[in-house]
Symmetry: C2
DNA sequence: CATATTTAATTCAGCGGGTAAAATATTTAC
DNA sequence: GTAAATATTTTACCCGCTGAATTAAATATG
């Protein structure tokens, strides 16, 4: 049922307004209509219309106004609006090498339950991939006596090159095949809309919607884990590059013909900062006596082991160089370093910050804020859930448009 | 005279449509209304309205339709539209260390005349700066028996940190002062609107409007000259960063604690690729026998001088590394290298391209196009003129909105 | 306690940009 | 010359947003 151009454009405009309102409510937590109008520079009448639509879609709800609250003013009290957390259940998945992590989240991004599903094979065929995801979802839903049908959206994060707009995976370390179009697979296997995205972009979405990037227009999210990832948010939108394969911060080169990276190239940042790089170096420093874990390297460094310290110091130097390059190129409002406490420890130090400062041109202007966000191991799955929540919001608003009275 | 919200938004919308039409005509050169409608996914009625406005503003004109041209089809012939080149005269200036270059261009970007005004002082006070610009403009106008009053816009390019939206210069190597607000200065000294921008951004604008970036959404322009500059065009718009000091490609670090750069930091790309870097290296290679020029280095390399060759080779290696990092981060449609024939010679070689390829992740996808654009020495001034043309377009369309019948 | 006052939210008529459809313009085909 | 084809313009209308008027819901006041 193709709509005419006129109603297309008009509906588009209206959806944009509704999404802007929804987004503002999400950012503010709870807010009255009149404040939305003034913040978005729009008229109260428009806000009334938009919020009515959003309420009827179950996306937001009114909460009881606190009478004579703070400033005991008279006049009709403001009715606060906030996300309607309970109305939709969203699943976020992260596919890692030996594990699928699942989070079921409510519409406000709160974790309802989580589940970890161990993986035998690092690489799967597309069919096995989708089937495994389905199984993991079933088990996660079972934990709260729900079924797949309770889900309003599923969002899947994987490492690799993903064209999120088409649910198309150019390449992923979790798949045996290249160039897989998941739009078919997912539609037949899952009873709700599903989305695939690059994992670093998902974390960026989580920071934007619920984390340290709330309300920011231009910021970068650097993820630290096995590798080094980057999510770029410009003008409030994820920047994915022309072919969907940008933001490969971990593989920017910090040394001409430098250390060998997993990707086969030399001098990648990841080859100095990734966990395998640390382990490789530490092993050499130990004269190859055994395979040390990253945790052990940290422990040894703390207890004064000069070789372990040196490994972490160089990682920090290279990391600082890379971050200062990001600032020199993007001049963002803020850079968020996302990872576990341990992964960030040696990368969010005074020495690294000093090196960043010394690598950014024009030191008299204030440096962009650099914040560390210490996540637990569900960081990626939570990111996926955040993306799912946003995508479901967009779908519900679109449905509104077509079902208009 | 403040307009109401309603007319503001509506007028905005309309201006956006008119600018989109104007932009498309500029990109296509000459095009009929029906083709504009189909290209912009809009209705013929809207195009009729928009083009009528643009014609009345003197921005575009109809050109004689060629009867039964190519395909001898019947039906009413298409009327081609194109920019109305003659209607406005725009000045573009580039302030360099010892010279101000001026271009007077028509509205289609064609050079009407050019003029070079030698500078005694590298650094000037803001007052002297504006006065000098005025003098240079006067002399340039005199060449075609025109006056300053003939100009519809003046665009000024300088090296440094510029907040173009406010005509505010945070810092420039051409000024004795920091944090200069030129909006006042220019308004009193010049009889027409004037704009200041960072010089690399201007070249990017020139590529977008009239050069190799025509019609592209996401591309990068790397300028090679004394230093290495970058202009970033994302989603069709210049990306300037949060504080207007992004795109400092020349000062991204390609070597930890590497060669000393003009900016005082170590390891900057520019410290390996800039002309002063080449001269410094070559002088060492010559055992300090004298100051070689870049042209001589090239000549020596061509005639087999291994030391000169080595200087250029390393510059190329570092440049290739930097470019591959840009691709890894931005994944652009295209990278345009802009400079003189000589400056680009050793940087647009097969060796450098091979190094770029070897530094970009995911080699199975096609590399973004890398094009060299060999400009003459008026590159920067032409860039300024391009920016001026765009700004004047925007102003004229805005005037239309307020003068509507 | 009744009423005035204040502020929030909603309703409603109208503006204005964009559209589809109709009308008009201008050509070639026959 | 007339019909057919194609481009452009005109016209009536749709729809989102707005300002103004209205309604709603609280406090202040005497």
């Amino acid at each position: 049922m193709l709509k005419s151009k006129a109603s297309q454009n008009a509906a588009d405009q209206r959806n944009i307004t509704r999404l802007r309102v929804l987004e503002h409510i999400r950012t503010e937590g709870s807010i009255s209509r009149i404040d939305i109008a003034s913040a978005l520079q729009t008229s109260p009448a428009t806000v009334t219309a938009a919020t009515a639509d959003l309420i009827s879609a179950g996306l937001i709800k009114e909460i009881e106004t606190e009478h004579q609250s703070k400033s005991a003013k008279r006049g009709r009290p403001r009715v606060l609006l906030q996300l309607d957390g309970g109305s939709y259940l969203i699943a976020g998945l992260k596919v890692a090498r030996h594990m699928i992590s699942v989070i079921l989240a409510d519409f406000e991004g709160n974790e309802v339950t989580s589940y970890k599903y161990p993986l035998d094979d690092v690489r799967m065929t597309p069919g096995a991939f989708v089937a495994t995801i389905r199984t993991a979802l079933d088990l996660a839903c079972a934990q709260i006596n729900a079924t797949l049908n309770s889900l309003s959206g599923v969002s899947i994060g994987i490492a690799g090159l993903v064209d999120a707009e088409r649910n198309f995976v150019h390449w992923s370390s979790s798949l045996t095949e290249r160039n897989v179009d998941f739009s078919q697979f997912l539609e037949t296997e899952l009873p709700c809309p599903a989305f695939i995205e690059n994992d670093a972009n998902l974390v960026a979405k989580a920071e934007q919607l619920f984390g340290l990037g709330k309300g920011l227009k231009n910021f970068l999210v650097v993820t630290i884990e096995h590798g080094v990832g980057l999510g770029i948010v410009l003008d409030g939108k994820l920047y994915r590059g022309e072919r969907g394969c940008g933001a490969e911060f971990g593989h920017t080169k910090v040394q001409l013909d430098g250390a060998l990276c997993q990707c086969g190239q030399r001098g990648c940042l990841e080859a100095y900062v990734g966990d395998y790089a640390l382990i490789r170096e530490a092993t050499v420093a130990d004269q190859g006596t055994g395979t040390e874990t990253v945790a052990e390297i940290h422990k040894n460094a703390r207890s004064g082991d000069e070789r372990a310290k040196s490994v972490l110091t160089r990682a920090g130097q290279m990391f600082g160089l890379g971050i200062s390059n990001l600032i020199n190129l993007f001049d963002p409002e803020c850079i968020i370093l996302s990872g576990t406490q341990m992964d960030l420890e040696h990368l969010y130090s005074d020495e690294v910050m000093a090196r960043i400062r010394s690598g950014v041109v024009n030191v008299d202007t204030l440096l962009p804020e650099i914040k560390a966000h210490h996540w637990g191991d569900l960081m990626w799955a939570k990111g996926a859930a955040a993306y799912g929540i946003e995508q479901v919001s967009i779908l519900k608003v679109k449905e509104l448009a077509t079902n208009a009275p």
